[in-house]
């Protein structure tokens, strides 16, 4: 852990939805090839913060961001290419949301929009991504079937494969298992741990066991502020802040 590299460096970040301040003075260093978990009660700003990292909040009307987020030393709220940012920082959503097309086309969607047309290359990417997402064996015989005709857990792993196909460096996961059954949830968790070999993963979760099982670092959010951020073991075993302790022992939230 001594040679930690900062993938993201967040400095004095404020975020406003018109008049409401949703994030207050966030400072955070996020390490490469680790899993960082954001926990906290509903409305604490953890999902909002996640979406500022690949600028998905740009889509929301009336959002204003102050402060800085550096990705490999480049300020992503400066004059940069949002499209490229999002190719580097992929996202997996709360509800499995494959497009209403075949499994193959879903995974090939990203490569295609980035200009890859050759069938053999696409085939290769699709297989590789589905293998990485640990779903290849389950769907390899029905690649041409609709991606919406498989189970929820499978859909979510297809969505992860879809994200991987763009070859991002960072994967943001917004409560990726909240709509899934326990077995599918475990599969996704195992997958996340495997993926961290190659990717930096940031996961928002309601499920504290999940955070403690898979993450290296944990940040506890409350009313738009980061109350405590540190190694997961430390947060769960010896929280420094009273509010963190209350939350992880289930006294509120």
């Amino acid at each position: 852990m001594s040679n930690e590299v900062s993938k993201f460096s967040v400095q004095e970040l404020d975020l406003y939805y018109s008049n409401f301040q949703a994030l207050k003075k966030i400072n955070m260093e996020i390490q490469e090839k680790e899993i960082t978990a954001f926990i906290g009660p509903s409305g604490c700003g953890k999902s909002t913060f996640l979406k500022t990292i690949n600028r998905m909040n740009d889509l929301v009307e009336g959002v204003k961001v102050d402060g800085k987020i550096y990705l490999d030393g480049v300020d992503i709220y400066k004059d940069i290419d949002v499209i490229k940012l999002r190719s580097r920082v992929g996202m997996v959503f709360q509800q499995p949301n494959p497009f209403p097309m075949s499994i193959y086309d879903n995974v090939a969607y990203g490569p295609r929009i980035h200009g890859i047309k050759k069938k053999s290359v696409l085939d290769e990417i699709v297989e590789k991504s589905l293998r990485q997402a640990a779903i290849w064996d389950e769907v390899k015989d029905k690649l041409k079937k609709s991606a919406r005709a498989v189970s929820g857990g499978q859909q979510q792993r297809i969505c992860i494969a879809r994200t991987l196909a763009v070859e991002p460096e960072v994967i943001l996961m917004d409560e990726p298992t909240s709509a899934l059954d326990p077995i599918s949830t475990l599969k996704i968790e195992d997958l996340a741990v495997e993926l961290k070999e190659q990717y930096t993963i940031i996961i928002v979760t309601h499920n504290m066991q999940q955070a403690s099982r898979i993450s290296d670092k944990t940040a506890f959010f409350l009313t738009g502020e980061v109350i405590e951020y540190g190694k997961t073991e430390q947060i769960f075993n010896t929280p420094k802040n009273k509010k963190t302790e209350d939350y992880i022992t289930g006294r509120f939230g």
């Binding site: 480049v74 290419d81 190719s87 580097r88 490569p111």
Partner: protein, 309 residues
């Protein structure tokens, strides 16, 4: 792509440079979309400007026609430079009121039947029927009016002809029915079931529930259906033209009298009119437009108010 991304990763800051060409293309496309959306705005403005420009012309300048004579006149005789539209305004209003008085209750009750009472098998007959009524071209309603309603009226009318205010009212009533029915049905369906349950729970009968709880809750939707019906009735042209009789003057004194609504005045003479005569037809259009604007704005007000709730 594999190679591309890997290469660019070597120098993160270069990779993050905005792609100017692509951003410009995106902007151009958005502008094209925007211009398409502006076609509607330009069309409305152009329609208003040009129809008014032509329609105001006869009342200004040398040899102007008195606007008061135009708006209060009861005789339309282009050959003798007489252009009075008052009797047409009366005809349009009476025909519309008549159609609304008969059409709205029938339409609303039919909607109640579809939305609240009828078993599915009957809904499957009535609803496509209503949709078909909505799709029938107005000339067919005119043909029906001229072929069936006018001869019927002719049999009982004290006047020598069947073409009359009554015929117009009958055909307009039929023509606004689908509008009233489908919109009312949609609003009735949108009334939350809890209203019905609450009313039934208080011991009200099904009919009482419909009339005391459901219909009042759907009031604003029914109102906008009515206003749309008014718009359709006042603007209807071809069907009315075939059955109205279109006299050159005279305020209708009874339902048996011939009438000449504003719309038919325009449609009948436009193809051969020229000069002042043509301008006067545009002026008729302006009056019609004024009515339509009132209807439109009322409708927009009602729907936006309902939206606020």
């Amino acid at each position: 792509m594999t190679n591309n991304i890997k290469e660019e990763n070597n120098n993160s800051s270069i990779m993050m440079k905005p792609n100017k060409t692509r951003d410009i293309i995106e902007k151009i496309v958005e502008t094209i979309f925007f211009l398409c959306a502006m076609v509607s705005v330009v069309s409305v403005i152009a329609i208003i400007v040009f129809v008014f420009y032509k329609g105001v012309a006869p009342f200004v300048g040398n040899n102007a026609y008195s606007f008061f004579d135009f708006i209060s006149g009861v005789k339309w005789d282009p050959n003798h430079n007489e252009y009075g539209v008052f009797y047409m305004i009366v005809a349009s209003i009476l025909a519309t009121i008549g159609a609304i008085i008969i059409g709205v209750p029938i339409g609303l009750l039919t909607a109640v039947f579809i939305a609240e009472i009828a078993p599915k098998s009957l809904v499957n007959i009535v609803k496509p029927g209503v949709e078909l009524l909505a799709g029938i071209p107005s000339v067919i309603y005119g043909a029906f009016g001229l072929g069936v309603i006018v001869p019927l009226i002719n049999k009982i009318s004290p006047e020598p002809q069947g073409q009359s205010l009554l015929a117009v009212i009958c055909v307009l009533t039929i023509m606004i029915l689908p509008t009233i029915i489908s919109l009312s049905e949609a609003t009735l369906k949108a009334v939350p079931n809890s209203y019905r349950e609450a009313s039934l729970g208080l011991g009200a009968s099904k009919t009482q529930t419909i009339f005391r709880a459901v219909i009042p809750a759907a009031k604003s939707g029914i109102l906008s259906a009515t206003v749309l019906g008014i718009g359709r009735a006042i603007g209807e042209t071809m069907a009315v033209m075939m059955i109205a009789g279109n006299p050159i003057g005279g305020i209708p004194m009874s339902i048996w009298d011939k009438v000449r609504p504003l719309t038919t005045n325009i449609a009948m003479e436009m193809s051969y009119a020229s000069g002042r005569h043509q301008e006067m037809l545009f002026a008729t259009g302006v009056i019609l437009f004024a009515f339509i604007m009132i209807v439109n704005i009322t409708l927009i007000k009602i729907t936006s108010k309902a939206g606020e709730k």
